[in-house]
Structures are given as C-alpha cells and as structure tokens.
Amino acid sequence: MSRKHAIELKINGDIHEVLVEPRTTLLHVLREDLALTGTKEGCNAGDCGACTVLMDHKPVASCLFLAIEAQGKEILTIEGLDQQGRLHPLQQAFIDYYAVQCGFCTPGMILSAKALFDKNPQPTEEEVREAISGNLCRCTGYVKIVEAILAASQQR
C-alpha cells in the first residue's frame, strides 16, 4: 500500500480531513469515507456522468479525479444542493415535471443543470441538451428531464 496522505477537502461548505492513498479517487472518498452516497458510480471511466460533482462550479467526473488533487477546491455534491430542507428549484422541478425514474442519473443530471444555470440562466433547449449530454439516462428518453430544467430556468 502506498503512503497515505492526510488531505483536506471542502465539500458542501464543510471541511473534511481524510487519509487517502494517491490513487484514491474523489468518488471513492465521497462514497466510502464520507458516506455521501448521492454521487454514483456508473462506469468508472468518465463516460456516463453518474459521478458528476461540481468543482469550483464546474461539472467534473469524480471517478477520474484524484482526491489528492481536489484539495483547495470547492466541491458541491447533490447533498449540498438543498438548503436546510429547502429544495433548489431544479430539485423541485424534477419532482414537478416527473423527470425522475430510477433516480440513478438524477444527482449528476441536476448538478450539470445547476452548472449550466450558473453560466447561462436562460438556456435554450439546445443548450440544455448540450449541458447534460454527458449524463446518460436509460430510463427517461430525456424528455421530462429537459422539460424540468427549462421550467426551473423560467422560475428564476
């Protein structure tokens, strides 16, 4: 086993101290060490988007991000999106527009949409589709997901 490094990660506004090997991915730390299981593993190769988290407001694949390189960044996971039980408009829209089925792609999908809103508060349908093009969903055909995201953007 390689030498372990003590690192500090800032996640959802909280500082966490964890002991990691260099090879430990951010996805692993989130799920195994911090019990933040909302971020999912779908392929472990950066192809499916289920492991999406926001790093300094930008969506990244946490399965391809070394935890040791995530120091000093602001990380947002799905658990950090609602504020004391008050849902983010995207979360509410996903409920109201029936955009959830099995739910496995949902956290990554919502975070990608949030990152889009941060850059572009009034996206077109095409821009929404482009923003979530790396979040694969097998259940929905993306129809209600896109509708939910557009509806949430209209509410702001």
């Binding site: 090879r23 799920r31 195994e32 019990a35 933040l36 299981t37 909302g38 971020t39 999912k40 593993e41 779908g42 392929c43 472990n44 190769a45 192809d47 499916c48 289920a50 996971t77 799905i78 658990e79 999106l81 609602d82 849902l87 979360q91 996903f94 409920i95 109201d96 029936y98 959830v100 089925q101 099995c102 739910g103 496995f104 792609c105 949902t106 956290p107 919502i110 349908e125 929404v128 589709r129 482009e130 979530i132 093009s133 790396g134 979040n135 694969l136 969903c137 097998r138 259940c139 929905t140 055909g141 993306y142 129809v143 209600k144 997901i145 896109v146 509708e147 557009l150």
Partner: protein, 779 residues
C-alpha cells in the same frame, strides 16, 4: 363506476424527493460493519476444461478473508434449465465465466488477489454461430448433459426439447390452420429474413449485491434485482438453507430492464459471505456487466407471408433462432414468450411458428425489456410495410385491415379483449399528419415518416400478495413486493390505496421488497405489477375496510354497506353521523377490538392449459397492452446518418393509474428504441466482447432524441375487466414498435430497406452508395 379521485391523476412520484436529494439508497450504497469487497476471476477462454486451480498464494494474504472456487460452490445449479454452476467446475463455457472469487478488505486488495490465483486451462473447440450450433451434427456440443439437467418448475408448459439437436435449449411451436392451403390461395407471397444483435440493458446502477451471514447460519442479502422471491428460493436451494433463514431485500434499484434476473451476483456474494463469515459486497465493473450481465440474445427471424391483393393476411410462417449463449438463463422462457409479439396484434387464419434457443460459447443471455417481443415485432412490422409497398397499399390501411378485433381468436386460440390497437394507430397517424405531404428534402437530408404497431403481453399464472395496515392516525401502510426499478410501481400502488381509503397519497406509507416484511410477489416482471400487485392491494384494502365497517357499524348503529371512508373518517350514507378511525383505537395505540387493523389480499393470475405441440390455449397470456409509434426521420445521403426528429407513441394500457408516469414509460421506451434501432450492438469475436464499455457501446444521450416539442405520448385506454380499475400494465411496451417505425420511415425517405439492426450510418451509406453506383452513368 364511481368517479375516481386519485387513480387516473398524475400525482408526483412518492420516491422523487428521496431521489432528487441523493438520499434514496440503492444496495450498492450500503456499508455494513466489517464489510468486505468481493471480486470475481473470470475465464479468458470461450470453452475450456479447468485442469487445476491453485489459490495457495492468495490464502497467505492477510487482507483476503475468503477465496472460493467451483469446489466450494454449491452442487446445485441455476437457470431455467439448471445448467450453470455459480462458479465453474470442470468446464468453462464462455469468455468471462466466473471461475473463482475472493473477498478482501478493499476492492484493490481483492483485485490484486485475483492476480495470484493460478488457473490451468485446457482449451476446447468452441462454437459461436447459432445456425451452426442448431444443426444435429454441430461440431461442438456446449452442454453434453443438457437433458439430464433439472428444470426450474414453471406453472405452464415451457419445454420442448430436441434430443437430436444437442445445442437446442428449447424449441417452441405454434400451429394453426393449413399452411399449404393458405399460401396456395394467396395472391402474393413475400419472404424475408431479419436480425437483431445482442444488446445490453446498460442500467446505470451496476449489478451488485451485499450478503451478510447471520448468527443462525442464515443469510441476509441486499439485492439489486426485480425478482427477489425467485432469488430467495434459489439461495435457499443453493445453500441448503430453510426459507425462514434467508432474507432478501431490495432497496431502490437503479434500473433493471430484465438484466438483474439472474441469481449469480447474490449467490457469489453469499458464498463469499458464508465462507468469510463477514458481510461481502460484490459489484460488477461495467465491463463485467457487458460480459456476464445477461444481455439480450441476438436473434434471426425468418418470416414468410401469404396475402391477398387487398392486403389480407392468409398465411404467416415464422422461424426464430436465438443465440442464447453458454447457459440457458432466462432465454428459454424468452424464446417461448417472444412469440407473443407475433400473436397479439393480427388476425391470421393459417399460422406456423418455430422458435429455438440455441447454446453457443458466446456470453449467456437473458431477459431484456420486451422479453423478445421487440425483436419479433421488428420483423413483423417491417414486413407489414414491405407487403404494403409491394401491394401499393397504405401502411396504416394494411394494418387496419388485419388487426384483431374484440372477440376475434388470435393464432394461439385466445379470445381478444381490451384491444386498443386501432385507436393507437389512428392517434399516432393523426399526430404525425400521416396523410399530409410534407417537404421531403433539406439539403443532403431526406425526410420520411413511418408507423409501426406493437403489443406487449403479460405472462400468465403469477401471483401477488399484499398486506395493508391502517394506523391509529389513519395513515395506511402497504406492505408489498413489487420492485421499484424506476417505473413508478410504488406510486401507482400508493394511488390505488389512496383511492380505496378515500385519502391522499401522502397518507400512504410503502414498505416494499423485503422478504422478512413483505408478502410473496412474482416480481416486477412482464409488466405485471400494476395488474397483479394492484389487484392484490385492492383485495387487501377491501379486506381491511370490511373490518373497519364491521366495527364501525355497531358503534354507528347502521349497516356496514351504508358506510364509506373519507380522510380517516367513517361516514354514513344519508346521515351526519360519523366516526374517526382513531376512535376504533385506545389512546395507548391498540385496536379496541384487539390487535391491529390490517388485512391481506392475494391475486392469482389465470392459468389455463396450453398445448405444447400447437401453442393453442384459452389464456396463454394474462393480457396484452397495445400500442403504436409514428416517427419522422431525416437521413443524410452523404454520411448515412439517421436522425429521429419526431416520435409519437400511443398505448392502450387499460385505465392509466398515473398518466404522466405512463408518458414517462413511453418516452423511455422511445429512447431505448432509438438506441436499438440506430446504435446498439454488442460486438463479439470468438466469444469475446469487443466493446464492453460506454465508449464503444453507444446508447442515446440527450442529443440523440427528438426535441421535446416533437415528442408526444398518448393514451388510448381500453379497460380490462379484470384489472384494478380496468388497468393492465405496459412499461415494457413503450419500446417494442420504435425500431420498425424508424426503418419504415427510412424506407419512406430513401427507398432503402434495412433488415438487420442496428441501422448504422455505415450500413445506410453502403446501401445508398450501391444504389447510386448503379444509377449513375459512367463518367
């Protein structure tokens, strides 16, 4: 019927809040004290004898707490035909077959331990071509002792073995009428061969299970599946444990589509857990899912039709061959039931069908949304359009002419009822403006429209039981074993309970899929849950209400029949007397009349005998859902790219319980259908999967489906007498007609007819090129 207040309305999903906040738990999220991680060592050969396995190096590792091989695995086997050991014993039959497994304190340690297991193989000749394997003198026999294997009992005839074709798992037949006469009398005969490739469910949640050994020698298993009682039965049998000592639990499931029906994952997890005497989590990598995740079998379909000039079908002869791969899995039943795709829609006086599940050394296959209907309907609905083209008849008209009507007998002898296909066809045709001439070209893009019909049966003879409890505060607790795989079963059932008790969905608590807590259910398979679990739920609700009204009638001095419930209050018809549910309880929380206020309901699906030679029976399926798709495509004549720009789906699922969730299933079916039509194919060479990842196995992203405004999902409900509120079930159905509608639209746009899925741009380009090469005069 009284007006419905909750059933038929699009209430929000009961699990949506948990899922949008990341709080919903899936078995892959579990972390138990002392839990180990399991990893599987897999065969690199498609067919080989295992000469020896040496695990001595692994056993020395402190971080490895268990290592198992076929010698440690149960002697009992799994599969519809019980032909597969959970860890291979003397023989491996596919590249990727599980040969050994370890449990270690980290995934990395488990992976590293696999490297130290030494396996000595003696390679054997292998066979990969299903037609070749089908032959009596096949060069390789995959299962020499196939006929000696035990069978998983089924309540209806399934197996027709072919002793002189050693690689045939089963052969299924349907025979009706006089084929020779039918073809003789036809004005026109058309014969074609179609094919579909192996495809992978690609559910986002990887195959996984967590098994924990219990102090009494039993097991608790958290299982990502849709059929937990079957897994429990298998585990009891495999590990020789009584049912009372095996508990199987399913949490939320991150997609299934039939891929998690096999027992291999929970069985190997259990084997490791029992050996290590600690909990073990076993998770497949994505590439393992492609290899051992029971993908859909590749199929060839030969179809020969005899028709009259006016398009009336006189005779239809079909032959289907499924490459079932190295073990029978569920593909035996798929081979039987896929045939219903060719039965449910059309009236055909003379019909002959043979379908074969064939063993090869390709990876084993299994259930996939549609259970074979998708592939069969691919062939049937493509052929219907080809007939229409030859006869110069409108594709919608030829279908209308041949559609079964209420009361007609289908080719299996079942009387047609709850038949909404006609209305579905009309609705999608109208939506796509079928009769309207629209612009056909936009630069290099040619546009076209296509229509196809579909059906999806639900299997017979399955049963569900539900337990309902009413709490003092008038909340209703429903205990059931219908899996929540994403389709919304929990919500539909909550709506039924809310309807029955005159309350709202937020007053319903669902306890689901835990064999220690929830009663037997045959599983969320075959689009059966709304109908079967729903019916059981209805009976349970009515059982409890009967008790409530009995108790209340005494106190209210009236007859039980004059009472009804609304928001936890028992009301009397024509009087303002009332009683709260809470008043039936003591303040301390017990029912005044004793115990709990609860009841059960059981629903057993119909079972009628079936003739194994002719496939004739009064009720070979419980019901059919019917539907249609109309699509508009654009085909780029320079690159061969096909884009689906419009999709309209209409389905008859009987009374919809939640219309928006029904739409969601149609839209999901559209996405999966576009993938199957244009992109998806598991590439296998000499038994090895070449594209076991999402980089090289493409399924639709948000960019590959039509714009929201160009997708329409419609309902044409024809109630079914036996369904809860007239509901049937249909989640699989949204998929079945998409691919042929696309192929028919491509034909409409370009005159190209492609019969082998997927319709890749390379195929389209090659066909276009061969046409233009012939047409252009030499330069």
């Amino acid at each position: 019927m009284t007006e419905l207040s909750i059933v038929g309305r699009s209430v929000p999903r009961v699990d949506a809040l948990a899922k949008v906040t990341g709080k919903a738990k899936y078995s892959v999220d579990l972390k138990l004290p002392g839990m180990l991680h399991g990893k599987i060592l897999r065969s690199p050969y498609p067919h080989a004898r295992i000469v020896s396995i040496d695990t001595s190096e692994v056993e020395k590792l402190a971080r490895v707490k268990a290592v198992v091989t076929g010698q440690d695995a149960p002697e009992e086997r799994v599969g519809h035909i019980r032909d597969r050991y959970i860890l291979a014993r003397d023989t491996v039959r596919f590249v990727g077959e599980a040969v050994a497994a370890v449990a270690a304190d980290s995934i990395e340690a488990a992976e590293e331990a696999l490297e130290l297991i030494k396996v000595d193989y003696e390679e054997l000749p292998a066979i990969f071509d299903a037609e070749e394997a089908l032959e009596p003198r096949a060069s390789v026999i995959v299962h020499p002792a196939l006929l000696q294997c035990a069978l998983t009992p089924q309540p209806y005839p399934l197996y027709r073995f072919e002793p002189d074709r050693p690689n045939v798992y089963i052969h299924r037949q349907i025979r009706k009428g006089d084929m020779e006469k039918g073809f003789r009398e036809a004005d026109f005969v058309l014969e074609h061969k179609f094919s579909t490739p192996a495809v992978q469910h690609s559910c986002l949640e990887l195959h996984n299970a967590v098994a924990r050994p219990e102090p009494d020698g039993g097991l608790t298993v958290w299982d990502s599946t849709h059929i937990l009682f079957k897994h429990k039965a298998d585990l009891c049998r495999l590990f020789r444990l009584p049912p009372s000592k095996v508990r199987v639990v399913s949490l939320y499931i991150g997609g299934c589509f039939g891929g998690k029906a096999g027992t291999i994952v929970p069985a190997i997890a259990s084997l490791l857990a029992l050996k290590a005497r600690r909990p073990v989590k076993l998770v497949f990598n994505r590439d393992e899912v492609f290899v051992d995740g029971a993908s859909r079998a590749a199929m060839t379909i030969n179809i020969k039709d005899g028709v009259m000039k006016d398009g009336t079908l006189l005779a239809r002869e079909m032959r289907m061959v499924l490459n079932a791969g190295a073990y029978s899995g569920s593909t035996t039943l798929v081979t039987k039931n896929a045939t219903f795709g060719a039965v449910g829609s059309y009236r055909v006086p003379n019909f002959k069908l043979d379908s074969y599940a064939v063993a090869t050394n390709d990876p084993p296959t299994g259930a996939f949304r549609g259970y074979g209907s998708t592939e069969v309907i691919w062939a049937v609905e493509s052929q219907m359009d080809m007939l229409a083209a030859e006869l110069d008849i409108d594709p919608v008209a030829i279908r209308r002419r041949n559609l079964l009507k209420e009361g007609d007998e289908d080719v299996c002898g079942m009387r047609t009822c709850s038949m909404g296909a006609r209305e579905c066809l009309e609705k999608v045709a109208r939506w796509i403006e079928w009769d309207k001439e629209s612009p056909r070209e936009e630069g290099p893009w040619k546009k076209g429209k296509g229509i196809a019909l579909g059906n999806k049966y639900t299997m017979p003879a399955t049963r569900s039981m539900v337990h309902v409890k009413v709490h003092q505060d008038a909340t209703i607790e429903v205990r059931h074993s219908a899996h929540e795989v994403g389709q919304g079963s929990g919500t539909a059932l909550a709506q039924i309970a809310a309807e029955e008790f005159g309350t709202s969905v937020d007053k319903i608590r669902m306890v689901f899929t835990d064999t220690a807590l929830t009663p037997y259910d045959a599983g969320s398979v075959s689009s059966r849950s709304t109908f079967h679990t729903g019916n059981a739920l209805l009976r349970a609700c009515r059982d409890v209400k009967r008790r409530i009204f009995e108790m209340a009638s005494a106190r209210l001095e009236t007859q039980p029949k004059d009472l009804h419930l609304r928001e936890g209050v028992i009301l009397v018809q024509g009087s303002d007397k009332s009683l709260r549910v809470a008043d039936l309880f003591a303040p301390a929380g017990y029912l005044l009349e004793g115990g709990e206020l609860s009841g059960n309901g059981t629903f057993v699906g119909p079972l009628e005998s079936e003739d194994a030679e002719t496939g004739q029976g009064k009720r070979p399926v419980t019901y059919y859902a019917h539907g249609a798709n109309a699509v508009e495509v654009m085909v780029n004549v320079e690159t061969g790219e096909v884009r689906v720009v419009k999709n309209g789906t209409c389905f008859d699922m009987g009374q919809p319980i939640n219309p928006k969730l029904c739409e969601a299933q149609m839209e999901g079916g559209m996405g999966m259908g576009i993938g199957g039509a244009l992109y998806e194919e598991i590439l296998v060479a000499k038994g090895e999967v070449l594209n076991p990842n999402f980089l090289n196995y493409k399924f639709p992203s948000s960019l590959d489906v039509p714009a929201c405004g160009n997708v329409k999902s419609m309902i044409a409900a024809v109630p079914h007498d036996e369904g809860p509120y007239g509901a049937k079930g249909f989640s699989e159905g949204g998929l079945v007609a998409v691919a042929p509608a696309i192929a028919n639209a491509i034909f409409n746009a370009t005159g190209l007819r492609i019969r082998d899925l997927p319709i890749t741009k390379e195929k389209v380009f090659r066909m276009l090129k061969s046409i233009t090469d012939k047409e252009l005069p030499p330069k």
